[in-house]
Amino acid sequence: MKVPVRWLKELVPTNLTAREIGHRLTMAGLEAEAITEIGANWDNIFVGLVERVERHPNADRLVLATVNLGEQRLTVVTGAPNVAAGQKVPFALSGARLFDGHSAEAKLITLKPNTIRGVRSEGMICSEKELGLSDEHEGILVLDEAAPVGLPLRDYLGNEVIELEITPNLAHDFSMVGIAREIAALTGSTARSPRLADLTDSRAGGSLVTVEAPDLCPRYAGVVMENIRVEPSPAWMQRRLSAAGVRPINNIVDVTNYVMLELGQPMHAFDREFLNEGRIVVRRAEPEEKIETLDHTVRDLTPEMLVIADADRAVAIAGVMGGIGSEITNETTKILLESASFNMFSVRRTSRALRLRTESSARFERGIDPNLPLIAARRAVALIQEMLPEVRVTAVADIYPVPVRPRELSMPFAEIERLLGISYPETVVLDILQRLEFSPEILESEGIKTISVQVPTYRADVTNKADLVEEVARITGYETLPERLPERAPIPAEIDPMRRLERVVQDTLVAAGLSEIITYPMLNEQDLIDLNAAGNGLPSRYGYHARPEVPLVTAVNPLRSEWEMMRPTMLPALLKNVAENVKFNPSVGVFETGRVYLPVSPEELPNERRTLGIGLAGQRQLVDLYHEARVVDYFDIKGIIDALVRRIGVIEPAFRAITHPSLHPGRAAEVTVKGQPVGILGELHPSVIAHFGIASERVGIAEIDLLALLEAGIEPWRFQSVSRFQPIEQDFAIVVDEHVPAADVAAAIRAGAGVLGSDVRLFDIYRGQALGPGKKSLAYRVTLAAPDRALAEHEIERIRGRIAAQVERRVGGTLRG
């Protein structure tokens, strides 16, 4: 809301500057977002009186105007069509900075004395555009007759405007009077009340207004006025409206807008000639009913919407906007002024349904004091009669069946300290509440002090003790609150195991050279289709999880078509990230620990599973002094997952070959812990690499369900005492059939070595004619150690024998050499 300071100071006496007012209001909950100054650059511009206008001796279209500035008289050459003797005008002396009237952009120029067609011109009579007030440049700005000659224009027309953010709770501050009340309460001064007309003698309206929907319209005041003459409103009113950001239209519409800005009551004026039977019916819209609103749009109404109608059709959407056909025109002579109170929820629903937000609806949906409409009507009548003394009020209706009275509220005085942690003297509290017009009283009974107040009806936001305490704190200022720490701490709870796991996972991967990314967890169906290497629609699995049978978690109002649903897998966002990063980095390794959102049913919230996604692309090893460059492959991602899972305490993760719609058929695996699957990993299928446009020969990915990992059971472990005897390393070359998985061979060796085997490491694979076709030789280095002795030669022989036996029995292998 824009608050012109000059206007505000008329409503509340204060010596504070605009900046100080802005600061005080900001601290009290009304944030001053900006302060702008109208006339900041008006040096050397004064109020002048045009005394004489003569023809220019050498030009037909120009005139010579003699302007009295009080202490001097100057002559200027002007081409303004509307200049006339007797006018008060803004007059700029040379040196003044004015906006260029002929330039489309706001360009400031400095005025210099000038000779135009042989006559010297010693200044300029300014248009609104030259002063920066508007784009109007047709003629000069004519000031009020009362403007004092010789006064600097800034002192007369200059204004500062504070732009306030009005939070939704502050309905009562959405007006000049509301802000004036705040300033009065904050500074201890008194706000002035605007002059109101007396309507008590006016003829009752009889059947003028019928309210058929009292639930949505607690009050409706209608005032009929005759002998209206529609014309522009006076300059002072137009200026105030403009400063407050409302475009002046005509005297009647301007009065309704002025009252809305001043008191916060939205009003509407109807041309009564165009109301059928000249009367108002407040009712719900009929099914299929339509109305063309003032913005020339035909609106479809529904029976949930409240309308203002005449005897047979809707003429306005209550609290939102008036209709075409009964609006004020230059021919209007009889008007019906509406000043009403509508249900705030209803106005909001209607305004949202029609996507039509107005100054009026913005105020109604915050709630309007039901005691305000008649005051506003009286104010509007006073303003209209000030402008047009011949206007008569011929009828007044005020339908207000259930008057609202001030709310009584009381609380123990100690409540202030209970909430704030500080108490204030009774006199201070009473004074603040008095300034807020709360009529406070302190009562004491059995040693307990109670404070009770009557909350004014315009303060619908104050309904409970906490609200009342806030009022006290707000006016004294939050800066008076001390800083303290809570007295007692709760018993420290355990750290959530999932958070602990997530931290370990993140730290381990960072140490392994990967960088964490955070991606948008929404995607669209195409992203999922792109995960299918076969290219025949949605894949059977979304990353780790199977494709669910129920629809995915889908947005009703997605921000963009690419963000339609919550991801069921981390992969698409990860792959898009990799595709971008690999353009700029030769080696990309990224991970994200986020959630995937698995739908359960339309009746339940989705299952949000904490999930790890990893993506590797480009080269895993860059060329340097010590290494050849090496492109990423399956064993990079496997190594990371293996290290990660062991790091969190799983002794022996198992990897099983799988087929997966997104992965390379020969390089895809599932990782299991104690037989429970916890994730997938592998190289991306070349088709999927192409779908996502990743410029990398191979892409390694993994998706691990962290909850499954946690639930698979990270077993408690105990330390094992370390042996002081030196371990012995023994090499084994084992020949097996080509199809035997290396993991099975290693398992056989471990079984053979038993408790004495501490490490089993594959270091070579050999294939050759010597072995025969379909055979391979795997070379292992096995570390053997006993806790209590150095192993003797015969013991080592016995272990070799056992390993040979296990290898033979489990994988059909033989020991070479």
Partner: protein, 290 residues
Amino acid sequence: MHLTAQFERRQEELRASELTQRLEAESVDITLPGRTPVVGTLHPVTQMIREVTDIFGRLGFQVVEGPEVEEAYYAFDALNIPKDHPARDVWDTIFIKAAKNREVVLRPHTSPVQIRTMEQMQPPIRVVVPGRCYRYEALDATHEWHFHQIEGLAVDENITMADLKGTLGEFARQIFGKERKVRFRVDYFPFVEPGVDFAIDCMFCQGKGCRTCKGTGWIEILGAGMVHPNVLTNVGIDPEKYTGFAFGMGVERLVMLKYGIPDIRAFYQGDLRFLSQFSRPALSEAALRG
């Protein structure tokens, strides 16, 4: 005997000279690059969440989390933001398709976890809630539709606004330096009363007024207040017996302020050239400053 001794001495000399030769031959250009282990980077948002939750952890706050796809009841109604109230407009919300009788949203703030926590725990309660939030909001340099918040909640007997001010002051000084001044001003959030906007004096101009603080000398860090009695009633906690405070902050904003990042969109574009700049832990600076 004599010969043996001589032989041994000669042998010793040879060994020594051999070693000297070897050491000479093995000398390298020690300015050649080392074999550097590659270390990655934690996302700056993760780093800030850790820093903030660690600070509150030391103040006795426990970390809890909640769902991102949330019932409107938890996201709004239970937080004293009734349907059709203009306060609901403050949160431009992304809605989720659900059965007819239900309203499900992407949580626009972490505040619903206040409700879930109070439903499950009895006072004394002291929790912080980090997490992702979503708004129906066009992207620009200062607005993201997807962002992170950290919510805080303390409920007990004798929790006052002075406790809130002290707790937040402690937090701000640990994150932004112990010389920081703090400011409380009145603000409105439907789920607190009285409501607070919490600011610190601008660390870029020391409160004199600059572009970052828009000339005000103050930088708004978070919203806070005393838990609204209606909210306590909604979760079955007696507002006559208990009071509480709550606060919520945007994580990205904290990171942006701390490192002078002008554009919030950088966080989720995922460019490694941006992210790798955060490889020094956020903590080191504050730790060094003491």
